[in-house]
């Protein structure tokens, strides 16, 4: 599998097909024999911004970093063990409720969306 072509930037879906995010970057590790392998998928504008680079990338990553909750400032990390299958999307074997929620989503939901009546009703 080519990481650049088959993994990076793919949509990640949870067990129920709900979107979790894109593979914004991957974390590589080296096993006992010195062979590198994909340890985790990284999600979030921090990882994406660092990968894009330049002024825009730094700004993207910087804003995301400021929003991230204090104890876990890095991007969201999904261990590769949780990946069930890679098709046109990356399908996880768990529900997204078990994964950390993106900070921007929680912030906007708590500070904006949930304050508007009807935020609970699907269209």
């Amino acid at each position: 599998m080519l990481i650049g072509f088959d993994l990076l930037d793919r949509q990640i879906l949870d067990r129920d097909g709900e979107p979790v995010g894109k593979v914004d970057d991957v974390e590589l590790a080296v096993d006992g024999n010195g062979t590198p392998y994909v340890a985790a998928l990284l999600i979030g504008q921090q990882a994406l911004g660092d990968r894009i680079g330049g002024v825009l990338g730094r700004w993207l990553a910087g804003t995301a970093r400021r929003l991230a909750p204090a104890p876990t400032p890095g991007p969201i990390r999904i261990p590769y063990d949780l990946v069930a299958e890679v098709t046109s999307s990356v399908n996880l074997s768990v529900s997204r409720d078990l994964l950390p929620e993106p900070p921007l989503e929680s912030w906007l939901r708590d500070h904006l969306i949930n304050r508007i009546p009807g935020a609970d009703n699907a269209g």
């Binding site: 930037d9 793919r10 995010g21 969306i113 699907a122």
Partner: protein, 410 residues
Amino acid sequence: MKRVLAIALGVLTAIGGFVDIGDIVANAESGARFGLSHAWVPLVGVIGICAYAEMSGRVSAVSGRPVFDLVRERLGPRVALANLAGSLLVTVLTLGAEIGGVGLALQLATSVGYLLWVPVVGVVLWVVLWRAKFSLLENLFGLTGLALVVFVIAFLHLHSDTGQLWRQATHPGPPVGEDWGTYWFFAVALFASAMTPYEVFFFSSGGVEERWSSKDLLTSRVNVFVGFPLGGLLAFALMATAATVFHPLQMSVDSLSQVALPAAVAFGKLGLAAAILGFFAATFGAAMETGLSSAYTVAQYFGWAWGKFRRPNGAARFHTVLMVSILVGVAVLMTTIDPIQLTEYTLVFSAVALPLTYLPILVVANDSGYLGRRVNGRLANGFGLLYLVIVLAAAIAAIPLMIVTRMGGG
């Protein structure tokens, strides 16, 4: 039987939903100034949008994912981000133009200035997108947009000089008093109005919202190949009636009130009411589509949860982008820029952004990783490549033509 009804409803919606403020302005202006000598452009544009909408509908139905969800994988994050920025700018400007169009239609109905309507329209638009059921809305505004059929009937009723119109249509080129620069400028604007990028964003994401699967390929194709050409016919009727009523007087058209006039000439108050209702439904429907499209493109680039079928608090980022887009659209109009002028600028920028939309679709539609055996056949690729060349030519020519002709002013 139920299935046939569903398909018929989809087609009617596609017809009524095809026309937006860009089509209204571009067709009426060109008909008044150039008669039917641009008649070939909407035809070329409609075939193009059909070819590409079919591809993006097929991608949605087979892979269950909208085209622009897949763009980043193929173009990489940087190019896709640039693409997103360009498409988003054009779509939000178009949203502003559509809201302005709704305001103008309401002004025709009430004589209250459009600028007073704009904030109201913005709020109503947001509430509707926040609360109401998606398919219901789409059908409601699509069907009401069919009122524009009044221009087709008016054209038949107006005793136009068919010989003269036929001569114009078969001899493309500027009439006396116009030059080739303005002729091509309007040709590019008309082409961009038929192939407006948001139409495919919306079409493919809408397919996913309605949970299309391979079984729905037929529905998608009937919608595209029957609905879009008939919708294009409504737009063309605006050109034909303007060519009948205004062109012989050697005048140009620069307000929505003038565009509605041929319907009143033919059928009096009833015709006028149908025209205004049609303008309202067409622009409001397009405002919903462009608003949603802005949010779709951003959410799909970043991989966020998106869509009207989710609870807003399950897609907070999506709904925030939607809200901000509407605010920006309203703010643009609040600078008191004339909505018709805003539409003209939007069409030029749309023309420039066309390749950003259509190249990725062609790439994804040829990817067997997503589409399996449903990848583009020779015919689809033939049309796809041909239109890619046309789209590139229009994109390159748009800005120089705009400068040389001073927005078609001559």
